[in-house]
Amino acid sequence: MDASLPVAITNYIGLSAVIFFIGVGGVLLRRNPLIMLMSIELMWNAANLLFLSFAKMWLNNAGHIFAFLVITVAAAEAAIGLAIVVIVFRTARNVDVDEVALMKG
């Protein structure tokens, strides 16, 4: 085992995977767009957690840089996503994603 980590890296991977799939489940199962967006945030954070774990393991701060980038992109995504929710609500008067199916072929 690597001395720089308190527990085996496998545990970090497992924890990250569990959080990530909770996020996936949230996106797939919930119909409220806000909760879906929050679930996406969970997934971003699961990825970040893994980045930092590996950075600690390798003692290489490239993982920190990546986590920083991820936070930036997550912030941008949240802003855009919420804006979309707002305009959809304006036009459709509804926040059920199943009701907003204009792209149906």
Partner: protein
């Protein structure tokens, strides 16, 4: 090690709370707890700067944004998610496949497990890294890496944020139609003025 397990339980529990909450406002509370626990976790992984960023950006900015939107949307009378569930039946077997994939993942990871192979690589790659082992993860270390080696990605970050800001302004900023040229802008103004005048006459 104890910290890991405690935080792990908190993280999973708060994530479940986010996903299962009835109202989005509860989810936000769960997410706040999740982010706080994560920040502590980052400290334990010697990522001091990112822990602070996590608190400031996520808890401070993104969650507040969520709260605003929830407040905005709740002001109307419409309820959330009142319609029928329209997910196709095919989703059930698909979800099953995903679950099986998950099992494979756990299986595969436990097989390889980053054991001897991982550690031998670790020693060599760490020596050439930008940061040094004794100050690893410090703000000083992170800042040097961000503004020297990774300057270009940092600049790109600025660009991404700018694009996001412009996108949000365009999408949700103003209810008036976007006007590409001055000529069209004048035409829109004239139309609106005429409409007002007509309304006044009536």
């Amino acid at each position: 090690m104890i910290l890991f397990w405690i935080l792990g339980v908190v993280l999973v529990a708060s994530a479940m709370w986010v996903v299962t909450a009835k109202k989005p406002i509860y989810s936000v509370v769960g997410l706040l707890a999740h982010f706080a626990a994560l920040a502590i976790f980052y400290f334990s992984l010697s990522a001091e700067f990112l822990a602070v960023i996590q608190i400031i950006v996520y808890s401070g900015a993104i969650l507040i944004l969520f709260l605003f939107v929830i407040a905005l949307l709740s002001s109307g009378t419409a309820a959330f998610a009142t319609g029928p569930n329209k997910m196709p039946r095919a989703a059930i077997p698909a979800a099953l496949v995903v679950l099986i994939a998950l099992v494979f993942l756990v299986y595969g990871v436990s097989r390889t497990a980053f054991t001897a192979h991982a550690i031998t690589v670790s020693a060599t790659s760490a020596a050439g890294a930008v940061g040094t082992a004794n100050v690893f993860g410090s703000v000083d270390d992170f800042g040097k890496a961000l503004f020297t080696t990774n300057l270009l990605p940092f600049e790109i970050t600025a660009f991404i944020l700018m694009v996001a800001v412009i996108g949000v302004v365009l999408l949700a900023g103003d209810a008036t139609p976007y006007v590409a040229t001055k000529r069209r802008a004048r035409a829109v103004e004239r139309d609106m003025r005429d409409a007002i005048l007509r309304a006044g006459e009536e």
